[in-house]
């Protein structure tokens, strides 16, 4: 993947130049020389991001056929379609680093590549669709806004585009919660139930506390990452708690308190045992999500094979005509 320059310049010098460029805040482009570790870090992060968009279609898709109004169905379908589109867009961006979509899917199926842990939780009532939009996409936005300035150009541009759509998702999620909190006692109960189940996993989306976060050091040096997990988590909490209170939802954290001095909330202890348990495959839906993806992929093999066979026949015909 190196350019002509790289064949003439010593590796140390290339690395020094690269470090200087990222330190100065330059965008790195696909054809630029980059250290292997940088490329690997990005492939890991971008493919995980793409897989998350795609796997996330499952818990939301779970309610598409049961959406309670035509408008609700339309908004939910449009949202899921956006997520799938983000997946495509991110797969293409990751392909600029020299990995194919097939390879990324293979890594997902083999367990080498991960997806966001949040989608290992089930969507059990309609308010869960609201909670995913409001909390899960809300948390994702905080993260993605920060990534808009990430050092790898294709990733940064993907994030700019994706952030625009995600803010619409968050609004529609909050709208569902608002409607339900204004509704019948049963609807309010569903909304609070969803809040109780999604709040803590949403906080976990930002990853371990800063002291326990692997992969971080290089990511900061190369400006792939620009804010710490805890900074982003705090930002999300400070933004979201007042929104919950406004519509009468209780945040399920007895230790949550406004800190006047810091002008932000202090919050209770996150259950990192649960986080690690779910990441290591023992969440409520890990097996279900992966089996679904693998089955659909395998069931669709005949379609992909047919498309390839047809294309080959067409090409052969063209060649014969020439």
């Amino acid at each position: 993947m190196g350019n002509d320059q790289s064949t003439m310049v010593a590796p140390d010098e290339l690395l020094a130049r690269f470090d200087a460029r990222t330190a100065a805040g330059d965008a790195i482009e696909a054809k630029d020389w980059m250290p292997d570790a940088y490329r690997k870090h990005l492939v890991r992060q971008m493919s995980q991001h793409a897989h998350s968009e795609v796997i996330g279609m499952q818990p939301e898709g779970n309610w598409v056929t049961r959406a309670p109004s035509l408008r609700a169905k339309q908004i939910l379908l449009a949202k899921i379609q956006d997520e799938g589109g983000h997946g495509l867009y991110l797969y293409s961006a990751a392909e600029t680093l020299g990995i194919s979509r097939d390879e990324m899917i293979h890594q997902l199926h083999s367990g080498k590549a991960k997806y966001s842990n949040i989608f290992n939780y089930p969507t059990l009532n309609w308010a869960d669709i609201g909670a995913i939009g409001w909390l899960v996409d809300g948390a994702a936005i905080v993260n993605q806004v920060s990534l808009q300035r990430t050092s790898y150009g294709p990733y940064s541009r993907a994030m700019v585009r994706i952030c625009k759509e995600e803010s619409f998702h968050q609004r529609q999620g909050y709208e569902i919660m608002t409607y339900m909190m204004r509704g019948t006692a049963e609807q309010r109960e569903m909304a609070q139930d969803a809040m109780n189940r999604w709040w803590w996993p949403s906080l976990m989306m930002f990853g371990p506390h800063d002291g326990d976060s692997p992969h971080s050091a290089d990511a900061f040096k190369w400006k792939i990452k620009r804010h710490t997990n805890d900074e982003l988590r705090q930002k999300f909490i400070d933004k979201t708690v007042p929104q919950a209170e406004l519509i009468g939802l209780k945040v399920p954290d007895a230790d949550l308190k406004w800190n006047e001095e810091k002008q932000s909330y202090t919050y209770g202890k996150i259950n990192w045992d649960e986080f690690h348990r779910v990441i290591n495959g023992n969440g409520p839906c890990n097996k279900q999500r992966m089996e679904h993806h693998i089955k659909v992929h395998n069931d669709g093999a005949w379609v992909r094979e047919a498309a390839t066979a047809y294309k080959n026949k067409q090409n052969a015909q063209k060649t014969n005509l020439n």
Binding site: R66, I80, L88, G300, V303, A307
Partner: protein, 252 residues
């Protein structure tokens, strides 16, 4: 039957066809053989929901007894639905879904192309918007039927099976009843029978390219004009209507 009653039933039928097919296509969400097709099918579903909203909203207005597009969609029972049975057939594999789509969208392309000139302004306006969408649906589905028909042995076999299975549900789309006759005379509706030859020619052309055999004469299923459906519709509705039926006082 008065003109108003006929117009209500006609609009309801147009709405039901869109609603039920959109529900079927939305079932593909996260099940597509490739991500691009997952998105294409849900995109069609979105087009169809928009069309259902327009026609059911208009039907509710014509009926004038306080129904809305949503109560019409979520609070009617099987026998009160007037969609063609082909729209409610289960998705089957991707080949089945594309064949069903080809049969329906090719019909709709002819239908809406004429309904653009309907003397009913609302129907004409929705038809004009819909025509652009169904042209794309028909060509997308046709492309896939050709690709699969002339792809591998397996894909060809699957598509031929789909064609044979769905064929008996195609003629119902062209059935005329009192509603149609009354509204054709008013310049509002389309003579469906007159569309059949063009439809069949188009399908034959696609099949020729796809190397798929046209099914022979066979019994054609019927009933939807009287609200008679396949067993599948009841299951589709019980899933779709679940929240509205379980919590009748709730607003969503």
């Amino acid at each position: 039957m008065t003109r108003e009653e006929a117009l209500f039933k006609y609009t309801l039928r147009l709405g039901d066809n869109a609603l039920i097919l959109s529900q079927r296509l939305s079932e593909w969400c996260s099940y597509g053989p490739i991500l691009e097709e997952d998105l294409a099918m849900t995109n069609f579903a979105l087009d169809l929901i928009g069309r259902a909203q327009a026609f059911l909203g208009y039907a509710a207005q014509l009926e004038g007894i306080g129904n809305t597009e949503d109560t019409l969609a979520f609070r009617r029972s099987e026998r009160q639905y007037y969609n063609n049975q082909i729209a409610e057939l289960p998705n089957g594999d991707f080949g089945h879904t594309m064949v069903r789509q080809l049969f329906i969208s090719s019909f709709e392309q002819l239908l809406f192309s004429q309904l653009r000139n309907s003397k009913d302004e609302t129907i004409a306006a929705v038809a004009a918007k819909t025509l652009k969408e169904v042209k794309y649906h028909a060509s997308h589905a046709g492309d896939w039927v050709i690709r699969l028909g002339d792809g591998t042995d397996e894909s060809s076999r699957r598509v031929q099976q789909a064609v044979n299975a769905i064929w008996p549900y195609t003629a119902e789309q062209f059935e005329m009843d009192e509603v149609d006759s009354l509204l054709v005379a008013e310049g509002i509706a389309v003579d469906l029978q007159s569309l059949y030859a063009d439809w069949k020619n188009h399908i034959a052309a696609v099949f020729a390219e796809a190397k798929i055999a046209m099914p022979g004469e066979c019994y054609m299923q019927t009933g939807s004009r009287q609200g008679i459906h396949t067993e599948h519709l009841g299951h589709l509705l019980s899933e779709m209507q679940y929240l509205q039926r379980a919590y009748p006082d709730a607003k969503w």
